[in-house]
Symmetry: C2
Subunit: 558 residues, 2 copies
């Protein structure tokens, strides 16, 4: 058992190295720019299921060398094809035709979204071609539980879960391609603007199938803040004026939303949500299957993305722990895809980061430390908030914490099972608990707008459920029946849920949903105080055993 764990740890470290080599050592903006260029050289083609890959590639290669291609399914079969040069894309589009449909007309807006037509009768015999399709959605939870149950260690389980959930290379390319198609629409009027993904699509914590948040950056438009001559003449563009940057953003998003709605092929359900705090255009991009949100000048969100990207890239354990905790939270209804009083994925990620900063020695540095490491190019003040931190991975020296993922997962639950939420705030800038400046049940400091609480939405009920689930999961994660795989008589793994898989099964606490709130609070409080009082005397395992008994004993109260 021990040797397997060591082996897994070596594999884990190796994975970290590979991942560092792939992405980790490059600042996000460099990665973004590279992906953006790839996307600009790419086309998205709807194919028939009978498409023959060889003929397909031969046909496209007429226009130039292909760097990369892959197929996937989403409302039909699609292919993403990246050429070596943009000229190939231009040549391909030049040869493409506008469809003529009887009794229908088309809006002749040309984009890099195409149909492949097969005029040969031979190939369309109704047979599928056996093309390999890249999955663009996550594994269903039951299948995931089954899959990780066959793993030999909890670490392996956590890595396997990350592997099954995270964005693939192909999905990432598809996201940048959708941004690039939208950038074509935006650059029609603002030639110097860019549209890049932000948030989970690029921060390293995104799940396959997560929403595509897009950032329209108008900051690179030339001619702003240019020095005027002291004497003589100069020319200025005549431009429409607005009262605020927000009004300008609303104008621009309104027009882009209209274009997407009226011209954008495959774009459906376009909603202009312009009066939101951060105005946005939401739509569904059917060819990719992405739910898209386009915002403009949302610079703080871009900095948050960079920060998570940096933390995720510093130590591979960060991402594995975040993926495991998020999956656990989702199956137990702590997070939800519906807006409401639930804890958000972002808050949960902050809690994991904070927990990792509180290890001894810390696994990741505090944001204040990252700020001190920043170079002049990293300087960033947004709306009066200092959002500066280092972007160069090489400048960050980590301390030598060797805790395993198994230890960290268990410790995470224990940490938040006993956290004094009523009095303390979670603050990744300082990496220590601070007194809460306001009375929200859960207080997590917004790392860049430090007067804000990112979890203001969370109510007492949802926080209590989180704490209760941490308590139960902490207890469970230390039981020998949870800790070890179920073996058959022949010594083989039976694939019965164990380890992380066991934590993803319905728990006792899951039954308390919808019961009377007041009694529950009372019980929760009692358990917590008991837990704290016991903590000083007991080992965690014994402690959690007792709490568990106490907890089960109180079940009639709920």
């Amino acid at each position: 058992m021990f040797s397997i764990r060591i082996l897994m740890y070596i594999i884990l470290l190796f994975t970290c190295l590979i991942s560092d080599e792939q992405n980790g050592h490059r600042a996000l903006h460099i990665l973004q720019e590279e992906r953006r260029k790839q996307a600009q050289r790419s086309v998205l083609i709807s194919c028939q299921v009978t498409t023959n890959e060889k003929k397909f590639l031969k046909y496209l290669s007429q226009h130039g060398d292909i760097n990369k291609f892959f197929f996937y399914e989403s409302y039909g079969l699609y292919a993403v094809v990246e050429f070596s040069s943009s000229e190939s894309v231009a040549s391909l589009l030049e040869s493409s035709v506008i469809p003529s449909v009887s009794h229908e007309c088309v809006v002749p807006f040309k984009s890099r979204l195409l149909w492949l037509r097969n005029h040969s009768l031979v190939d369309s015999g109704g047979q599928t071609s056996g093309l390999v399709c890249q999955a663009q959605t996550t594994t269903p939870i039951n299948e995931l539980i089954h899959r990780i149950s066959t793993q030999e260690s909890i670490e392996q389980q956590m890595m396997s879960l990350t592997e099954a959930s995270q964005l693939t290379e192909e999905n990432s390319r598809l996201r940048f391609l959708v941004c690039s198609l939208l950038e074509d629409i935006a650059t029609a009027y603002f030639p110097e603007c860019t549209i890049t993904p932000f948030g989970s699509s690029v921060n390293g914590f995104g799940k396959l199938g997560c929403d595509l948040d897009m950032f329209l950056n108008l900051d690179n438009i030339k001619g702003r803040n240019m020095r005027l001559p002291k004497s003589g003449l100069s020319l200025e563009y005549q431009m429409k004026r607005a009262n605020s940057e927000r009004a300008v953003t609303q104008s621009i998003l309104s027009v882009i939303g209209e274009c997407v709605d009226q011209f954008g092929p495959g774009c459906v359900g376009v909603q202009k949500i312009l009066n939101a705090r951060c105005p946005l255009v939401r739509f569904s991009h059917q060819p990719s299957g992405f739910q898209c949100d386009l915002t403009a000048n949302n610079r703080v969100a871009m900095k948050s993305t960079e920060l998570l990207y940096l933390y995720g890239g510093l130590d591979a354990r960060v991402r594995h722990l975040v993926f495991s905790v998020r999956c656990w939270a989702r199956v137990h209804g702590i997070t939800s895809s519906i807006p409401g009083a639930w804890i958000t994925n972002f808050s949960l990620t902050m809690m994991v980061l904070f927990f990792l900063q509180r290890r001894n020695p810390p696994i990741i540095p505090t944001l204040d430390q990252l700020q001190q490491l920043a170079g002049p190019a990293d300087k960033s003040i947004i709306d009066g908030n200092d959002c500066t931190f280092v972007s160069d991975f090489a400048k960050v020296q980590l301390q030598s914490n060797t805790e395993t993922l198994e230890q960290l997962l268990s410790a995470f639950f224990e940490f938040y099972a006993t956290f004094n939420f009523s009095r303390l705030s979670i603050n990744i800038r300082k990496g220590k608990e601070q007194n809460k400046p306001e009375m929200s049940p859960l207080h997590i400091l917004n790392p860049f707008e430090t007067s804000l609480n990112i979890s203001k939405n969370v109510n007492v009920t949802q926080l209590d459920r989180f704490v209760a689930l941490c308590q139960e999961s902490s207890w469970l994660s230390q039981q020998s029946r949870t800790l070890n795989p179920k073996k058959s008589t022949s010594g083989k793994n039976t694939a019965m849920p164990w380890g992380l898989a066991a934590l993803l099964l319905p728990l006792q606490v899951d039954g308390i949903k919808g019961r009377k709130k007041k009694t529950r609070e009372l019980a929760s409080e009692r358990i917590k105080s008991l837990l704290v009082s016991l903590k000083k005397k007991d080992s965690p395992t014994n402690l959690m055993c007792r709490v568990r008994q106490q907890f089960i004993g109180r079940k009639h109260l709920f």
Copy 2:
């Protein structure tokens, strides 16, 4: 007197020759394309009134050679500057800055509409620079009456009126420039489209200050109706579909309207009138002072424009007569800028053309004759209607009618004073009266959609007023006090209204507005029948004298 008339006629013929040399011998599409290219190399600059022309030109010449420039006033002082090459425009824009206004933000949409800033204190002493401004509006009617009263002949008066009313070279350039600015917006999404003026802006009959009708032409978008391979693969653009071409037009105009509204500097009062028979976007372009209507795929209107352009270019008398009749109709309230039961300028022009086709020998050919002269390149079928006619002026041989403008003006009034509107239709295709196919008071055949009546809107009241005014004007135009200038004792022209000017003064008939309709109709009918009965026996002058007496005698009836 006679020698002066001959002199004027020679001048008139000379003007025709010049006008033919300038525009007449070039087909409209060639002229349009040339103007469009000029406009693409032009910029529109808002200047301070203190602008020094020399410094202005020196400053702009940094970017390249200037082909042509002029100043005009419209909500401030503006300059149109045409460079020799498009690169100069690009260079000028490259050096232009985005304005930074305190407490305000701008929509960073860059166009060729600029402000000139003067940073030297010396030049801005509040004094105007004495720049020569090109008039962009017509002369007020009283001033016009005064001006033409000083002319020596009616022909001279009609030419002077045309001169004062028609579009100038500069105004025409400005119209194409506004189209070009809008084309920049449209080509952002439909790179192969064009926007060109149609209607009065280019048909030769436009007045200074008339609305700017713009035509978005999407027909040149490549990739339509392309031949597909018989076997193998091909690529098609994915495009949004609509039920009809009309729906596509509505989509496109909706987005362009939104862009103009949100981004277009100087564009105000944007209205999307998408449910009209011909969907359009209406807006006011403040820098040019034009009221603009943008339509798409309005191909028949473009053909009508070409036809009027051809007729106007064939013989200079056409335009002079049309300008005079239109001015006369406007001052007497026959036409109106408000939509309603009034006779439109287009109908009135058709009436003039028809009248000229009915002269003996005809001054202009019929549309059927123009169709017979058409070459293969002229072929045009729009929505099933044959809109073919010759575009090459050189192919049209005119008959040698030598009537003077004075004769034609008087004859025009006489022609319509006695026209049998109740039974006959005006048809420029055939150049002869036809039986009315329907019961509208006024029936003028739509030359390209021959099932339609272009003056269906006109009611009996308006038609009667027109006829009564023709009667009175016909009578007046034959009176010696109208026919000859008022001379002072020294033999000089007193500038007292005479000739055409006298016809532009309030007439007896103008007093009948708003009186009881029935009595008026009765009177009108009586006068008409009397007129017809007298016509056979009398010379026109005597006839009109009697009608006039009869008419005045009946005044108590109204």
